[in-house]
């Protein structure tokens, strides 16, 4: 059974997703000991960089997703099923920072597809479910980490993702998503529920929380070197119109960076 990681990276005017993906790939190889495939485009990948990847697939991405802060080239994730050369694949966002071998456990616990259904933010108490829309009781699923096996059902989920992406305006009007513009999290939430007949299958959900480094939070690597796993997190805790700065130290824990500006600090350390 072949296993590997697949990453999508398309640079925008604001962020260098290729560099993020390269960093994520080296950590995936180090901590998970898995080969890594990159899906990118001609504009994002500099010349002479093939040595960093086990396989590179270049596509022409759909660049038609503009947010208030700029262009976000995040469409086409449904291609992961066809483009992955592996029988079992972990699809991760380029801004997911691997610090442990925890993701390998997803291969042991799933049927053929799993993703996160719950998140937490470092330094903040409680869970923060995000509703799909203002008129929905459903919380969103997270496309940040997806593990899948090549089966008929997994194929259907990715085909459904494609259908939703291609008819996104229709789904947006029906559901009244809380955020404008295409989001893979929304498309995944709908696709998985459609394929599951609008029921939840607990085995489709990774049984631990996706950890976010959220807003008002900064993160600093504690050690130099490419494979540092210890970080100090500083949180601006607003109380009665004053900021109380709080900190914590984490180690060997994977996390997702909501604020992409923080990624430069982590890459520069490597």
């Amino acid at each position: 059974m072949t296993r590997g990681v697949i990453l999508f990276a398309f640079n925008s005017h604001k962020y260098n997703y290729y560099e993020m993906a390269k960093h994520a790939a080296s950590r995936a190889k180090h901590f998970l000991n898995l080969p890594v495939t990159l899906v990118t485009d001609e504009d994002s990948m500099p010349a002479g960089e093939y040595e960093h990847w086990d396989k590179v697939v270049k596509i022409n991405p759909d660049k038609n997703n503009v947010r208030d802060w700029g262009q976000w080239i995040n469409k086409g994730r449904y291609l992961a099923y066809d483009l992955s050369p592996y029988e079992e694949t972990i699809l991760i966002d380029a801004d997911y920072v691997i610090n442990s071998d925890k993701l390998l456990k997803t291969f042991d616990i799933y049927d053929d597809f799993c993703c996160h259904d719950s998140v937490r933010f470092f330094m903040r108490q409680g869970n923060f479910p995000e509703p799909l829309s203002s008129n929905s009781y459903d919380d969103i699923l997270w496309a940040t980490v997806i593990t899948f096996r090549k089966t008929q059902r997994a194929k259907q989920i990715f085909e459904c993702l494609e259908m939703i992406q291609k008819n996104y305006e229709h789904y947006e009007q029906i559901h009244g998503f809380l955020n404008a513009g295409f989001r893979n999290d929304y498309a995944l939430t709908l696709a998985l529920r459609i394929v599951n007949g609008h029921t939840d299958n607990p085995r489709d959900f990774i049984p631990w929380n996706l950890m976010h480094v959220g807003t008002n939070t900064t993160i600093y690597p504690n050690n130099e070197g490419e494979f540092n796993t210890e970080y100090t997190i500083i949180f601006d805790n607003w109380q009665k119109l004053k900021i109380k700065k709080e900190y914590n130290v984490i180690k060997d824990m994977d996390f997702h960076l909501i604020n992409k500006d923080l990624y430069a600090r982590i890459i520069d350390n490597g």
């Binding site: 925890k102 456990k105 042991d108 616990i109 937490r120 470092f122 330094m123 903040r124 108490q125 607990p202 085995r203 049984p207 631990w208 929380n209 950890m211 600093y220 504690n222 100090t232 500083i234 949180f235 109380k244 700065k245 709080e246 900190y247 914590n248 130290v249 984490i250 060997d252 824990m253």
Partner: protein, 104 residues
């Protein structure tokens, strides 16, 4: 700037409860074990249940896994595995917790 200087200059205080939460988050996941067709948490409750269900005539038992599916398991095999995981993970958790307590 090193991290200690950074914390001092920011006048940040150590968030003890948040650190405790983070440890629980980290080690709860490590306690999960996929074994004998089910997903288990190597916690006190599961280990206690497997221990008391000893039966001289049949060492198999049906137990609900973390997905709430009933699974027929080899009791002593699963118990041994969960105890091993519990001991190693909890030792790690305890050590990190002790470090954390010293920051009070």
């Amino acid at each position: 700037m090193d991290t200690k200087t950074l914390i001092t200059e920011a006048k940040a205080r150590f968030a003890h409860n948040s650190a405790k939460d983070y440890l629980k988050e980290k080690y709860d996941a490590k306690l999960l074990v996929a074994e004998q067709g089910g997903l288990w948490k190597a916690d006190q409750e599961t280990i206690s249940f497997l221990t008391v269900m000893i039966n001289d005539y049949d060492d198999r038992v049906v137990i609900m896994d973390t997905f709430q599916n009933p699974v027929l398991v080899d009791r002593s095999g699963l118990l041994t595995k969960l105890k091993d995981v519990y001991n190693s993970v909890m030792a790690e958790w305890y050590n990190e917790w002790t470090d954390l307590e010293s920051k009070r």
